[in-house]
Amino acid sequence: MNDLELLREFEPILRFTHGELFFPCPVDRYVEHCQLLLGTSDEGPDRLLAERGEVCLDTLATLRPPPAGAQHFLRFVDRPLEGREMARWLIREDRPVFSARGRLARVGIGIRTLDSLFEVLSLLRGRVPGGTVAAAERRYQQIRRQSPQFPYYGRVVRRGGYITLHYLYFYAMNDWRSTFHGVNDHEADWEQVFVYLEETQDGPRPLWVAGSVHDFPGQDLRRRWDDPFLMRWGNHPIIFAAAGSHANYFQPGEYLARYEVGLLKPISRFVDQVRRLWTQFLRQGDPTFGERIAGLLRFPYVDYARGDGLAIGPGEEHEWTPVLLTPEDGWVERYQGLWGLATSDPFEGESAPAGPKYNRDGTIRQTWSDPVGWTGLHKVAPPSVARRVLESRLGEVFVELRAVDIEIDQLEESLPQLGIEVEALQRSEVFRSILDDRQRALAEGEQRLRALMQRRAELIQTAEAIQLHIERIEAGDLGDPTSHIRQFHVPLTKEELHESRLAETWAAVSVGLLLLGFVGIVVFFPQVWLIAAGGMVVAFVAIDAALRRKLVDVLVGGSVVLALISLGVLLYEFFLEAVVVVFVLLSLLIIIDNFRELRGR
């Protein structure tokens, strides 16, 4: 099979959510609709290099590198829709209707308050202007009329024992924030799916599938081909693209994505350390408690990957048009600029991405240079290789075992002789210097023998484990397909999806009501503002917890906070006494333990 045939044989099926506005689109058509600009880091205006209609893929391929501190970028929308035009776009007849429950009812009032502050702050950061999505959607519809096909861009990489099929999908816009209440909007969006194969005598065999989910890297993103949670149609994995963000999921549903603000990352790391101490060392709370605490510093967003909209791929209503990427594609190899509008967003979420090969800063993406390492597959040998590797390792183990056995035999023979010699030398002071030397040799010999015995036991166990594993591989047993996953991306449960209407309404109004309540207390009850404000917060938290059926969790959290404050007070007042008590308790423990030992003799 040549590379294109390989790509076709395993090409994924993409299922979108009803309401999605942007689907995979041909890059050549897209760039024809873009202006090319040069942006600089100073406050000066961006320089227009080529007007719409003058830009093509060759233009990007032949661009000279930008001056230091500057960056090329494309602009798909130069005039966002406004006023009447925008209204017409909103009420157009063919607009797909998307409805969803609010994301805010899925988290507590504390994080909702933080979220509201973040929303206010986000108005100050560089953003894609309002009305951009509408204008982009109109322009994208023009592209679809010109080129109704759905392309993917693919390449085949043979490295690390795998044949990696790299599928790239280009979208004209990510409208997650504007259309689906998500984190960000940006012009242009590159998403990718990988299928990892191994070469066998019967031809290529699929082993793993991975898909990009926002900027998450690592082994959690891949699923084994025989994983029951990976949906397939023949040789084609089914991927559920999230609405607006186009993140790739393996199961249909709604996913609670947590977005961590860069400024809060140091606090988040500290909390992570504390939660480990709390849950693992002190064995406090339930195992999920720490994760929920850590979640308090991340804002909740929902990725809607329902799979109830348009579908593209084998057996679906729309087919793919594959485009094989080669090193001759200069727009991939040489264009390091952004594929859409560059904003001044410090978090970069609203800036367009660079191409399939590059990061925004011009460095090469790991997904391009090392797709095997990106999902942590370097340490996972394909089964055909695994057997060879295991047999080779088994050979090495047996060689070492033989060497260890020989040395053990020699020591077992020499040590008793040395022991007798030491015994003989101990009989007289005359031989003191020889005795010291022999005793040292005896001690070293004993130590070496102990180490060899230990090593021998390890080697025997290793050999047994390897032999068992070879037998398992021969029997086709590859073990638990999900054992490599540390954190599952799973859709929200039915219970979580069906929050009551009352909870939804409360989530929408509670933060505003709380702020109004504070104002009311300060104005009308200034003398007792502290008690009144505290009482109001407790009441709000209790109502919120009851509506979200989290009363017990909140009660536990509240009681632990009170206990920690009280502990702080006690330590502040009785620090010396506390130290004395700890030492007395320790001493008692030691005495009791020693007495037990005495009695046990």
Partner: protein, 121 residues
């Protein structure tokens, strides 16, 4: 658990006894004092019920115990802030809350969550 229940019972009984000895609802008491006094008695009565529940290891006793202990700690902290500290109440409350939140105790009362990793169909 027995120790926690007994301490809870003693605390509650002593609170009620103290309230009774000091002359409940004197004519000269301010409204706020009457409310606070009533609340303290209510919490003490609930505390007695909780003590019984903890001894019998019934499921509802666990959150109710946390609630009572939280109120006691909140009142204790308030009193400390106003210069009337009761360190014994604070210390007992801290020990009891950490003990109740200990994983094995939570499991015994059926309040230990298990990690869910199975997606919906």
């Amino acid at each position: 658990m027995t120790a926690i229940a007994v301490i809870q019972a003693i605390t509650s009984v002593s609170a009620i006894a103290g309230w009774w000895r000091s002359g409940p609802f004197d004519a000269g008491m301010r409204d706020s004092a009457v409310y606070l006094s009533s609340l303290a008695v209510l919490v003490a009565v609930i505390g007695l019920i909780v003590a019984g529940g903890l001894l019998s290891m019934v499921r509802w006793a666990w959150p109710l115990a946390l609630f009572v202990l939280s109120v006691q700690l909140a009142v204790g902290l308030w009193a400390y802030y106003h210069g009337h500290p009761n360190y014994i109440t604070l210390a007992l409350g801290v020990v009891a809350i950490f003990y109740l939140n200990w994983r094995d105790v939570r499991r015994a009362f059926g309040y230990l969550k298990v990690r869910e990793s199975t997606p919906i169909e």
